[in-house]
């Protein structure tokens, strides 16, 4: 495969950024334009949200458990095992639940969206939809975007809860800590800004997952090989963007809500 010259590569990347920005703009603008496909929104919410519950429950629970497990030994050295609940809840709610839930849903759904829309694109179903007078952005993309944002928000809350519970399970049954003390410290450690941080991130991550998945799907070319390529790229790019956006959002949140 011949190497691209740097200027061609940069132009191609800038063009992709432009296309993606316009794509996102249209997806958001369609929220305020008729017709609205409420049944598609509900269907996607079921597929994306309800379908991801098992994986989010498992991820959250065991992540909380691992946090408690790993922190137990370190905290015990300082006689601070009582702070396990605080440690687990802050870590889960600020960072781990949003990011890990986002990554799990990205793997499951960004790829799913890219492959579904990509298959439709290469078999001319998207063109057929346009020929029948239906806007595929309104019918396919905007419902997925809205559903993913809403459901990821709710799934993160589920992950927060299960993570805290997982930590409690390990703290009580493995580290012989007091359950009441665990939940007390977990609750008291949290302040308003922690909740805002932890629940703002899934909104951004949901937007990233859905728009990247749909964008790669709608731009698929090259038959079944192209669908495979789009699926892989959607998962990889959305995962990387989640990590990058997490860093950016954390920095912004710490600036807005500086530590006391």
């Amino acid at each position: 495969m011949p190497l691209e010259s740097p200027d061609t590569l940069v132009k191609r990347m800038l063009f992709s950024v432009q296309e993606f920005t316009l794509f996102c703009g249209e997806a958001i603008a369609n929220l305020f334009r008729a017709p609205h496909y409420w049944s598609d929104i509900v269907t996607q919410a079921d597929l994306i949200g309800v379908g991801s519950v098992p994986i989010v429950v498992l991820t959250g629970f065991f992540t909380g458990g691992v946090l408690a497990l790993q922190s137990a030994a370190s905290l015990a050295q300082f006689g601070a095992q009582a702070y396990t609940g605080r440690f687990v809840s802050l870590s889960m709610i600020r960072e781990l639940a949003p990011v890990l839930t986002g990554l799990m849903v990205s793997g499951r759904n960004a790829g799913g969206m890219a492959s579904e829309l990509g298959s439709m694109q290469v078999t001319e179903q998207i063109d057929a939809m346009r020929a029948l007078g239906t806007d595929p952005m309104k019918k396919l993309v905007t419902p997925r975007m809205l559903s993913t944002v809403v459901m990821l928000f709710l799934l993160t809350i589920v992950s927060d809860t299960l993570g805290t519970a997982g930590g409690a399970f390990v703290a009580v049954f493995f580290s012989a800590q007091n359950g009441t003390q665990y939940f007390d410290t977990a609750y008291q450690a949290l302040v308003y800004s922690d909740i805002i941080q932890g629940l703002t991130k899934p909104i951004c991550f949901g937007f990233i997952i859905s728009t990247i998945g749909c964008f790669y799907g709608m731009k698929t070319t090259g038959g079944t090989q192209g669908v495979g390529r789009s699926t892989t790229q959607a998962v990889v790019v959305s995962s990387i963007m989640i990590i990058l956006m997490d860093f950016l959002l954390s920095r912004i949140m710490l600036w807005i809500f500086p530590p006391i």
Binding site: R130, A131, G133, D135
Partner: protein, 278 residues
């Protein structure tokens, strides 16, 4: 300068507003050499224009340009008298509901049943369920596939999928039909069935159409046959006669090199056309 009334009538008839579809010097290229170069033609009311050409020459591109699914690099396109070359997509969506398009590989929505595929446009318009059901059954009856109502496209043969695609295209009584290789990849018997449906739509409903094909036998079948409504089947026209509203276009290397009647086509002395028809 004054013009004679006859010339005025001719100019008036050629005005984009009186033709269903007008291409004026349309050119388009993707990566590489131009796919279409200065292509100009019209489809008048009641006309069926058959676009012939070798595989890969750009025939499907013309259909997609005609429906605004692609935009030309230069030139103008008029659909129902309105210029669609730079028309915003949301306005084009409304115009497209007046057309029906049959794609090369049918392009049925594979997660929807035949009923939902055929009734798609009606569902989008939020018509009552009973009306949709009745009209879907009527469209499926036209293509003789009423029994596939609840089936998924994956359960259908290639020919059946093509017929369902035709039912989907005609259900809302379009004012213009676009067929992209409707018999491509089908066996001769099934191809004849599809030809019969197209001729039936042409002769019974008089819907103007642009039909793309590289199969000469199907093209000439359409020019030399009519639909016998009494017998409910295709019948040949008297020997030596052709359907006057069915005319031909030939595309070669991005340029339209023939635009005329069946007789003009078969008697053309152009070397490429002679070789193509041989």
């Amino acid at each position: 300068m004054t013009t004679t009334p006859q010339l005025e009538e001719q100019e008036d008839a050629q005005h984009p507003a009186h033709s269903v579809l007008v291409f004026e010097d349309v050119s388009i290229r993707f990566d590489g050499p131009p796919v279409l170069e200065n292509v100009s033609f019209k489809v008048g009311p009641g006309e069926t224009r058959i676009l012939l050409g070798p595989a890969g020459v750009g025939k499907s591109v013309i259909l997609k340009l005609a429906n605004g699914l692609l935009r030309p690099d230069s030139g103008r396109i008029f659909l129902f008298g309105q210029e669609i070359t730079k028309m915003p997509e949301h306005k084009l969506l409304g115009l497209r509901t007046l057309t029906g398009m049959v794609f090369q590989e049918s392009a049925l929505f594979d997660s929807l049943t035949v009923r939902d595929n055929v009734g798609y446009q009606l569902m989008e318009r939020r018509l009552p369920v009973e009306e949709i059901d009745n009209r879907v059954r009527e469209a499926l009856r036209f293509v003789e596939l009423e029994h596939t109502y609840d089936m998924l496209p994956a359960s259908l043969s290639g020919g059946m999928r093509r017929r369902v695609a035709i039912a989907r295209a005609i259900i809302d009584q379009p004012q213009f039909l676009l067929y992209d290789s409707p018999t491509g990849g089908l066996d001769p018997v099934t191809s004849t069935t599809i030809d019969e449906l197209i001729i039936k739509e042409r002769d019974v409903y008089k819907t103007p159409a642009l039909l793309v094909t590289h199969r000469l036998q199907d093209a000439f079948t359409m020019a030399t046959h009519r639909f016998d409504q009494e017998k409910g089947e295709m019948a040949p026209l008297p020997h030596g006669t052709t359907n006057p509203d069915t005319t031909f276009l030939v595309l070669h290397e991005g340029r339209l090199m023939f635009d005329g009647t069946t007789k003009e086509l078969v008697t053309s002395q152009d070397p490429f056309i002679k070789e193509f028809l041989a």
